[in-house]
């Protein structure tokens, strides 16, 4: 059976032929063909039943809802807290801070490849852009807009800590900001790489994990965190945690987040605040039609 015949057969079995076409094909079928078609349809339906044998676990759904609530809470609370004037000041500060980190002492390094090889202690020290302790490293992480907390328990600087922070650097990898933190783990070098969860850098990390070049990898906040080193304490990846937004001072109840009435959050001046832009990757298939918002099948454009 050639491909065109095969496609027509499946259109017939799927009930997608017009009544006239279906009747024509039906008349032309021998009894043996009819029997074979029936068994093929039975096989496909059995495969479909097996593929559909999965229900959404409660945990998965709660995570989806919680993630959405966190996003809305972040936009609503922060915007309500800041107000537009403070937001403008913060934006200026963020630009200056980012410029101070990434353009000092040299311009952001554009790298074609994301080097994920193991280094020596000596090399790690020379690669760092900032070497003056935890606050500077935290500033590098913050400037790259990763919503993670570096060492929230301040364990790195404790006397019994097995690792010392040597420095940090930020790189521009194909338009994505990547942060590296360098450690001395009881004399052995280790490196922690933070990359955006979605993008080319994350893909490179995924490849390195599959190839066994990375010791561990974890998704935290909006970052993918990977650790490189021949002897890395398992606790190293735990020194990074999701950050939390500042608690409001207006006596808002703990627990569920309430969005002000109406569909959008507003700031103190009553101006609508847009939720943070979700990257619009909804049109990854080719032949995007920017025309009408609905189509013949009644599906709205996304």
């Amino acid at each position: 059976m050639n491909r065109r015949t095969d496609e027509r057969k499946w259109a017939y079995l799927d009930g997608e032929l017009s009544p006239a076409e279906a009747a024509d094909l039906d008349q032309a079928l021998s009894s043996e063909e009819r029997a074979r078609f029936a068994s093929e349809l039975r096989f496909e339906r059995t495969v479909a039943a097996k593929l559909s044998d999965a229900a959404c676990p409660d945990n998965s759904w709660w995570r989806a809802k919680a993630s959405l609530q966190r996003r809305r809470a972040g936009a609503g609370r922060f915007a309500a807290w800041m107000g537009w004037r403070a937001a403008a000041v913060f934006a200026c500060f963020a630009v200056v801070a980012a410029a101070a980190v990434f353009f000092r002492p040299q311009a952001p390094t554009k790298t074609e490849h994301l080097p994920l090889q193991r280094d020596t202690l000596g090399t790690l020290k020379t690669r760092a852009q900032v070497t003056d302790g935890l606050p500077s490293a935290r500033a590098v992480v913050q400037a790259a807009a990763f919503n993670v907390s570096l060492d929230p328990l301040n364990s790195l600087e404790a006397a019994e800590s097995p690792y010392r922070l040597l420095g940090a650097r930020g790189d521009d990898f194909h338009g994505e900001l990547v942060v590296r933190l360098f450690f001395d783990c009881s004399g052995a070098p280790a490196e922690m790489v933070l990359v955006p969860r979605a993008g080319q850098a994350a893909a490179e990390v995924g490849r390195a994990v599959a190839a066994g070049d990375l010791e561990s990898c974890r998704q935290i906040g909006n970052a993918l965190v990977a650790v490189i080193g021949s002897s890395v304490p398992s606790g190293l990846v735990q020194i990074i945690d999701e950050t939390s937004f500042p608690a409001p001072d207006d006596g808002d109840a703990a627990g569920a987040i309430e969005i002000p009435s109406g569909e959008s959050a507003t700031d103190a001046a009553g101006t609508d605040i847009e939720a943070p832009d979700v990257p619009d990757d909804s049109s990854v298939f080719p032949n995007e039609d920017p025309g009408s918002t609905t189509n013949d099948a009644g599906i709205s454009a996304v």
Partner: protein
């Protein structure tokens, strides 16, 4: 937000299983689902009331799955480039065994069904899931994927053929079906031979 989530929750099982069967790395399924729900919420103003909400949700989910699969940089086994002669010969020994009792056959294949399904190309998986599992029409699938209907038909036919090829080869290697005339015959043939010899 509660109303919106309530409407989306009606489809949570369908959305979850689609992501589960479509995404290469199953550890991403929860993230893909959460991302799709968030994106649907953020873009809810773009949905035209009275149109197909379920198809609109699936369109968002399809794109999230596509991004997730692209990120894991999995290169699908190039079955979709398979020439005609690599597809199952319907006259091959054992092929009819496969079709005779599909439930028993697939039970014996076990989890290989899911593994084989993941080995066919992303767009073929998507089309099969949308048609066979979720019951969308060819036209709806074409609109969601923004491809011609004829292309949907091609992906469905090829995807189904490639999946059978994978399962058939697996079954032959494991002895679930006959692998050829010289191979060990099926039990009922042995029984009937013994009956002839005895009687």
């Amino acid at each position: 937000m509660d109303d919106f989530l309530e409407n989306v929750e009606k489809y949570r099982d369908q959305l979850y299983r689609f992501a589960l069967r479509n995404v290469w790395d199953s550890s991403f399924v929860d993230d893909v689902l959460a991302s799709a729900v968030a994106s649907a919420y953020e873009n809810r103003h773009k949905f035209a009331p009275g149109t197909n909400f379920r198809a609109w949700l699936f369109k968002i989910l399809i794109n999230k799955c596509f991004v997730a699969n692209r990120e894991t940089m999995r290169v699908p086994f190039p079955l979709d480039q398979a020439p005609e002669d690599r597809l199952v010969d319907e006259n091959a020994p054992g092929y009819r065994d496969m079709l005779e009792d599909p439930e028993e056959f697939l039970n014996q294949c076990g989890d290989e069904v899911y593994r084989a399904f993941r080995r066919i190309s992303l767009v073929q998986r998507t089309c099969i899931l949308l048609k066979d599992v979720e019951g969308f029409s060819y036209k709806e699938i074409a609109e969601m994927l923004e491809i011609p209907m004829a292309t949907v038909m091609t992906h469905l036919a090829r995807g189904r053929a490639h999946l059978r090829k994978e399962l058939f080869e697996y079954a032959r290697q494991r002895g679930i079906v006959r692998s050829g005339a010289a191979a060990v015959p099926r039990l009922e043939v042995i029984a009937s031979r013994k009956a002839k010899e005895a009687g």
